[in-house]
């Protein structure tokens, strides 16, 4: 199979909607994914991330809207899509009573690989995910992080150019999460396009672009830096110390746009990006809070997410939220 040739997006989604009875799980979602990028899909449990992915994989028929995956309309040719993609479902789904190699045997066969080619690919992916030494270990005896890597190996066995990963690192320790992400980035460098969901905010930083999903709607989609600049503009400071004051009184100080309790102190956002830590200290002093300790803060995606979810007063340049 030859890769997509950079012309146009690899995934094109328009007004994609899924209703279960009266409940709308995915509500008119639209986005594009370009060849060779990692698109992260962020959202709380039940936001509709898995439902979106399952529609894109041809597992669920959309109620409305269109999705073109590698140029194939998923609602018309779900079977055709399946040849082109790799998918790791949210729940761990390999056979625990089979060895690593036997799992690869089965899923490779299901993809139509056989004989020498299957053996060669099994060997290659096991090496790639670092499980060659454990090829004959019962999958149930592998630690959680290793199983996820084996699941990834199964998903890339047939060399798909498009990979859907649904919460691939859920319940895995931080070290394993990092090594998993290194694998994914390696695949992307080799030309694979990845759509990945997660609810770990820190993982979104590995993504080229991040979509935020809230209650079935795609509330924002951009690069992490752009999201931060747009949704958490101004400057962010960490204010703590003996006289950090109360939230309400801080918020009343001129120039302070938002105050969020954080640990023993507060995260304070200034509307004017040119205001420095020294200026803020002066204003706090004037307002009767001398001696507060003030540190510069880089906004995290967590703040971006809270901004979107909690419906903070949206800045004028915030992306359009689909109604």
């Amino acid at each position: 199979m030859s890769g997509p040739t950079g012309a146009g997006p690899v995934i094109e989604v328009r007004d994609l909607t899924k209703r279960f009875g009266a409940f709308t799980a995915v509500d008119r979602v639209g986005f594009e994914v370009h060849a060779g990028e990692i698109l992260g899909y962020l959202g709380a449990n039940g936001a509709g991330k898995s439902t979106t992915i399952r529609m894109l994989c041809g597992l669920l028929a959309p109620t409305a809207g269109t999705a073109l995956v590698a140029g194939v309309d998923v609602s018309r040719h779900p079977q055709k899509v399946k040849r082109l993609i790799g998918y790791m479902s949210q729940r761990f789904s390999l056979y625990l009573d089979l060895s690593a190699a036997e799992n690869l045997d089965f899923f490779g066969g299901a993809q139509g690989l056989a004989g020498r080619r299957l053996r060669a690919r099994s060997q290659a992916v096991l090496e790639q995910v670092g499980l060659l030494a454990h090829r004959d270990t019962r999958t149930g005896d592998l630690p959680g992080g290793w199983r996820q890597r084996l699941a990834l190996a199964c998903a890339i066995l047939h060399e798909p150019h498009l990979l859907f990963l649904d919460e691939p690192t859920a319940g895995v320790d931080p070290v394993s999460r990092r090594s998993f992400w290194q694998l994914v980035r390696g695949l992307v460098r080799a030309g694979t396009t990845v759509l990945v969901t997660t609810h770990y905010m820190d993982e979104a930083e590995y993504c080229d672009r991040v979509g935020l999903m809230v209650d079935g709607r795609l509330a924002a989609l951009d690069t992490p830096a752009a999201l931060k600049a747009r949704l958490v503009p101004g400057r962010l400071f960490d204010v703590h110390g003996p006289a950090a004051g109360s939230r309400g009184r801080l918020a009343a100080i001129a120039g302070i746009q938002h105050v969020e309790p954080f640990g023993a102190g507060f995260h304070v956002r200034m509307a004017d990006p040119s205001v420095g830590a020294g200026d803020l200290a002066g204003r706090l002093d004037a307002a009767g809070f001398p001696g507060a300790v003030i540190d510069d803060l880089e906004p995290s995606l967590e703040e971006v997410f809270l901004e979107v979810v909690e419906g903070w007063p949206a800045p004028a340049n915030a992306p359009e939220v689909p109604a």
Partner: protein, 379 residues
């Protein structure tokens, strides 16, 4: 498609034989089950515990009692004089049959007047009761004939002329299973039951497990088609089931002397047709179950009536009239008729085509329905 099918089949075999308990259930358990059923749940009745209630206490009455238990169908557990004592033994279950020899038996015997010898039979086990009644009736009839013959020959001897005597005896002859050996009757039944259980429950559970563990979703995103997946999941258990049938027949004929009078082709063909019904039912059960547990329950919900109505234990003729029509809806019935007919009577396709037709109809319709349901559920 062949690659994918082979992958599924190989995986199913690996999983089945990886788990020693499942492997045991599939291969050893049927033979053990048949051996136990063949010996223990012995429908063949002999050595029925019997109390002889001898109220006459003469040498003639003792003779009668001894002759009653001589043949082996009845086994003497006690000899009493008091009828109340005999009743008590029946009530306690120590004896299942009481032979009541009345006072004056020897006297009436000498006077050549009819004697009422009563046989009391415990009816709690109808099968045993039936055997006891038949055997005692036969015994008393033969005895009466014997006595008359003896008398006549004595009379003839006294008269000095020896002639042949016209004699009439009713001699029932049982065909196909002359010694009414129950194992011979049981083995086909066990073979049917084993095939039924293995293919239905294992199929239903296997699919439900994939759904429960989430592997089904992972499979569904491969190009593997649902029909190929089902075929691959059923094929190994169909093969194991057929191996079991073969083993059961071999062991049955070795241990219990079950004859194989008909063609093995008939056995194989009917087994394969029967498999369509059982595998189809297994798939159907999996489409209405969310978990393995529900699949097991669903399986038993189907298996119990299927086995009972099929005539495995109770001959269909002995079932209540209102139940009998239901047995026509049970594929087990037809398969059992084919197996018994073929093994015991040597019947072939020409004799059994109705049963074959019924099996084929059931199999194809259940299978079609289930596969369609399975496909729709993947939606």
């Amino acid at each position: 498609m062949w690659t994918a099918l082979l992958a599924v089949v190989r995986k199913e075999f690996r999983q089945a034989f990886r788990d020693k308990r499942i492997a045991f259930m599939l291969l050893a358990a049927p033979v053990i089950q048949m051996t136990i059923l063949g010996y223990a749940v012995d429908l063949e009745v002999d050595r029925i515990p019997t109390v002889i209630c001898d109220q006459d206490l003469t040498s003639q009455s003792r003779d009668l009692g001894a002759a009653f238990v001589a043949e082996g169908t009845f086994r003497r557990v006690a000899t009493v004089r008091d009828p109340a004592a005999a009743s008590r033994l029946l009530e306690q279950g120590t004896a299942a049959v009481a032979l009541m020899i009345p006072v004056g038996f020897a006297r009436d015997y000498a006077r050549q007047i009819p004697i009422d010898v009563q046989v009391l039979v415990d009816g709690t086990d109808p099968n045993r009761a039936q055997v006891a009644m038949n055997a005692s009736a036969q015994f008393l009839a033969e005895r009466a004939v014997g006595v008359s013959l003896q008398r006549l020959s004595q009379a003839v001897a006294a008269g000095g002329a020896v002639r042949s005597l016209p004699q009439q005896r009713l001699t029932p002859r049982i065909l196909y299973n002359p010694r009414l050996k129950s194992a011979i009757f049981m083995v086909p039944g066990v073979a049917v039951t084993v095939l039924l259980v293995i293919t239905t429950i294992v199929t239903a559970m296997g699919i439900a497990r994939e759904r429960e563990l989430g592997t089904m979703e992972q499979i569904m995103v491969t190009p593997l088609r649902p029909a190929v997946l089902l075929l691959g999941k059923c094929l190994p258990f169909a093969i194991i089931g057929l191996v079991d049938v073969g083993t059961l027949l071999a062991v049955g004929s070795y241990l219990f002397g079950v004859p194989i009078r008909g063609s093995l082709l008939v056995v194989a063909a009917s087994s394969i047709l029967f498999l369509f019904s059982t595998l189809g039912t297994g798939i159907f059960i999996s489409t209405v179950s969310r978990s393995q547990q529900q699949a097991i329950l669903g399986g038993f919900f189907f298996l119990m009536p299927a086995i009972l109505l099929g005539g495995f234990m109770t001959p269909i003729e002995n079932m209540p009239a209102w139940i009998r029509p239901l047995t026509y809806l049970d594929p087990v019935r037809y398969f059992l008729e084919i197996l018994r007919g073929c093994l015991l009577k040597g019947s072939g396709f020409a004799d059994l085509w109705r049963q074959f037709l019924a099996l084929a109809l059931f199999g194809v319709s259940i299978m079609t329905l289930s596969v369609l349901r399975f496909r729709n559920r993947l939606g």
